[in-house]
Subunit: 339 residues, 2 copies
């Protein structure tokens, strides 16, 4: 059974049948109903694999993402999936244990005929060149690629680090501790460097820095290590993601008996769901995930439709400050900083 | 460039080249190295779409799952993705806003040539028949299908409901409240019915039941409603997932001033990551997610390899009790129940 048989029975053109099975294509409600009825009675299903050989479109987008079990990525994945579905694309999921597995996973991506790739991993210049050579459109998601020749959607992590440090400094904090992210995380590095840069500009003491793994346990461990190195709690603790901030917060309150925010301010990044639960009400930064997913789907669609001829574009979002209960921030000074 | 060109250059047979690109196939290290070098110099990549027309294998498994942003599903998805990757399969992700979207999403699944489907949604008898007719192997994940003619991996939710109710009853709780899941969630219904059945058998008063949406806000709202209907807090509160239990717990402690577990015991289901954080230490049940994902990947592989001729199999796991700090449970009686 071919689309021609369906068209014959439904009394419409073959291209009308095609449009009925092409997500997002325009077709009248009446035509759609007739085609679906004819298709059902003939047991016609367009074969995606056969179709993709003709149209060179598989309607699949590879999404490369690390740490799916992390509290932050599911939201990103869910938003990307919804935005791509609206454009008739489905997500072919490539999960990485850590970002450094990217090269290995990429070799597997080439085995599938995907219309494009959204990569939440740092793209090296040779990798960008490889995408171009294979004519596979790619959008870097939340990672600034090393090469300019690629579209990307990012939240300005460096500026986020600056925002938190400057607000805390303006409210009078002097001795800073930082729990950084894993060494292979560019997001973590940018947040850290933004905070350090801002503190230096303000002439404040160098922060005491320990490394974490973006998980709860390393937040608690990080705080213990900072307290042991400083001989006391820092005035302010910047954690490079929320889950570590929550781990540090629980450790401060339930284990070390440090009053938060009375004795120590604690801030995080991401505004994951639990950060807003009544036991935490974490002061943090939110990445506009819905807008970022929408932008990534738009940029990728543009590249796919233009067959890679559209100009590359960077869309950079600023993180939004979430005023929780875990940091002593003078409202007046905070408002002043924003203005 | 074809596999024949690669074979010629590498000095091996064409079937050796095929095996090198077939995940999981046996090939010597030396042959592999020669083939990869030849393939690279010739710029040869097996085209998955073309290959799938010949082998009828796409090396893609559709995973249908609802609520990706829920705290429980990411773990399931991550485990399924890892287990399928080990078998050379990638996940084509179909996300549903709610389980009742299943029929609609299924119509889209038929558009792709997948080797099989893992469905975390309740399969109706006609849907099972449709899978059989299309010869697409399917494994129901964490949902008992209405029809026996399909393999499934489930955690015994009904027994989980019984376990929690019986332990709480044995420790002396009499007045129960339950915050149930959304009406279209079979997992939620089974947990609820297990608990009710057990309380009836023990001759305890009927529990007071309110409906939630598996999210934090509806846990808090559910507790407020229960307290308003009962005129006081119940002795024990069974929440049909952890996130609602955490919402109820925060509401009890931070808003209503109910001592947990002193005045009211609170239990949940799933053992999501935050349930073990120091602010909660929730008494709950863990589903053996790794074992369940492994079983699902095994059952599906068996069905794919046998082209649907392998007998159907149900693999049923029991949830494991997690002894937290939110329920008054007499250890002696609890041990007695287990023995």
């Amino acid at each position: 059974m071919t689309s021609y048989d369906v068209a014959l029975l439904a009394g419409v053109s073959q291209s009308a049948v095609s449009r009925c099975f092409k997500p997002g294509a325009s077709v009248s409600r009446d035509t759609y109903a007739r085609v679906m009825k004819a298709a059902e009675s003939l047991d016609y299903i367009p074969n995606a694999a056969a179709r993709s050989l003709i149209t060179r479109r598989s309607n699949m987008v590879a999404v490369l993402i690390s740490n799916v079990a992390n509290l932050y990525y599911p939201e990103a994945l869910s938003e990307l999936s919804q935005q791509l579905n609206r454009r008739g694309k489905r997500v072919l999921l490539f999960t990485m244990q850590q970002e450094s597995d990217f090269e290995e996973v990429l070799a597997d991506v080439w085995q599938y005929q995907v219309d494009g790739v959204i990569a939440a991993a740092s793209l090296s210049a040779p990798q960008v060149a490889e995408f171009a050579r294979r004519r596979v459109p790619v959008v870097a998601f939340n990672r600034k690629p090393a090469d300019q020749g690629v579209s990307c959607v990012v939240c300005d992590q460096h500026e986020g680090g600056r925002m938190l440090a400057s607000r805390l400094a303006a409210a009078g904090h002097r001795q800073f501790g930082v729990i950084a992210g894993p060494v292979d995380s560019s997001v973590g590095r940018e947040r850290l460097h933004g905070a350090i840069e801002c503190l230096r500009e303000l002439g404040l003491p160098e922060p005491c820095i320990v490394t974490g793994q973006f998980d709860y346990a390393s937040g608690a461990r990080g705080l213990r290590e900072l307290v042991s190195r400083l001989g006391k709690a820092p005035d302010a603790l910047i954690c490079c993601n929320d889950v570590m901030a929550i781990g540090a917060l629980d450790c401060a309150r339930h284990e070390l008996g440090i009053d938060v925010p009375g004795r120590m301010s604690v801030v995080g990044f991401d505004a994951v769901e639990p950060s807003n639960w009544a036991s935490y009400r974490l002061t943090t930064l939110r990445q506009p995930m819905q807008k970022m997913a929408l932008a990534a789907a738009d940029l990728l669609s543009t590249q796919i439709e233009s067959e890679g001829e559209a100009p590359h574009e960077s869309r950079i979002f600023l993180p939004q400050f979430v005023d929780g209960d875990t940091a002593r921030l003078s409202r007046i000074e905070a408002d002043f900083l924003v203005a």
